[in-house]
Subunit: 203 residues, 2 copies
């Protein structure tokens, strides 16, 4: 059985849980809090020297880190990875875009604002416009697509939905992005996960 | 034949050239300068709406962007992608780490310092320690490995060497990192590319 070291407030860690649950994989989850600095203890650093979650330990004791590398490993051979060569490449395009353009803006601003409780003026001012630009690119893409790649659920959706559904906690407004909101609901339903109670959702 | 839109000073673009040349692929290179804002012209944005290089256009006209997604597409089925499932996963781990921890620090500081000519005090002060940490992680990894994954050249080396060989242009000192320097020389030789004339190299 694999062991997942994860933080329940981290979208990067949610990706791993979503894929494992969707595919019915057996795993042990070890809660490891970033805010409580449990990723910096000697014990954790002896498991993952990079001090990051998520990380998984395979049945044979070997380590794997980086959320998108982990979900690619877990989903190998499943319907979450497109078979068509070009769709396969587009999935990678979105996975790298997520880690380069989306997570460092939207997830980072959420962490500083929602979890560290910083006032806006103490948060890197570039995060808001850069996050807004990432969301606009997603909205435009989804205006002609039901899912990010190939018309069906793939790892691209799993990786992108993880933090997009918490974008409001980072001060990002999805009210003018109806395509993103519909896509979040679609992916949450596919993954059988509880919708996030966003402002104005009435829940 | 594929068309590569690339900037000759960009390590991300070099990755694509290195893989295409190493595998003997036929391509047309269209020089597209970021500094001269050629990635922001209406013509280029009509080809790649994200305004980024590298981007490739396949023979049938379809677009692919994100350097690591492009090299994965070009190298499919080649020896640059490890066959073993765990090594395959480790390659992805390093590719995502490169785009999340390495490129945003080392390549970004090089761009601001070397190409935009900014004095150090005008460059984000986090880039130096974060880039140093990335280099230290590489040095430690390479102290027990000749290549990043599986004992032979893979896309992980191609992606990581692209900016590491220019780290000195970003103000990073490789003199205390002999393992990295030996690995750069090894990978440059494997890829048959001209070594970079680093300070003190005598060239």
């Amino acid at each position: 059985m694999i062991t997942i070291y994860g933080d329940s407030i981290s979208g990067n860690c949610h990706k791993v849980k979503f894929v494992a649950d969707h595919l019915g994989l057996a795993y042990r989850w070890i809660e490891t809090s970033v805010v409580r600095r449990e990723t910096r203890t000697p014990e954790f650093l002896s498991i993952n020297p990079s001090g990051q979650v998520p990380a998984i330990v395979l049945a044979d004791g070997r380590l794997l880190s980086q959320s998108n590398a982990i979900i690619l490993y877990l989903a190998e051979g499943s319907s979450l990875i497109p078979a068509d060569a070009y769709d396969h490449a587009l999935m990678f395009q979105w996975l790298f875009w997520e880690q380069y353009n989306h997570e460092p803006t939207i997830a980072t601003r959420r962490f500083h604002k929602f979890y560290l409780g910083k006032p806006d003026e103490e948060i890197n001012p570039a995060l808001k416009p850069n996050g807004d630009a990432a969301l606009l690119r997603m909205e435009n893409h989804l205006s002609a697509q039901t899912y990010f790649v190939g018309g069906k659920l793939s790892l691209a959706d799993v990786a992108l939905v993880a933090y997009t559904r918490f974008a409001h906690e980072g001060g990002f407004d999805l009210s003018s992005h109806p395509e993103i909101r519909a896509w979040i609901a679609r992916v949450e339903k596919d993954l059988k996960i509880e919708p996030v109670a966003a402002p104005g959702s009435g829940s």
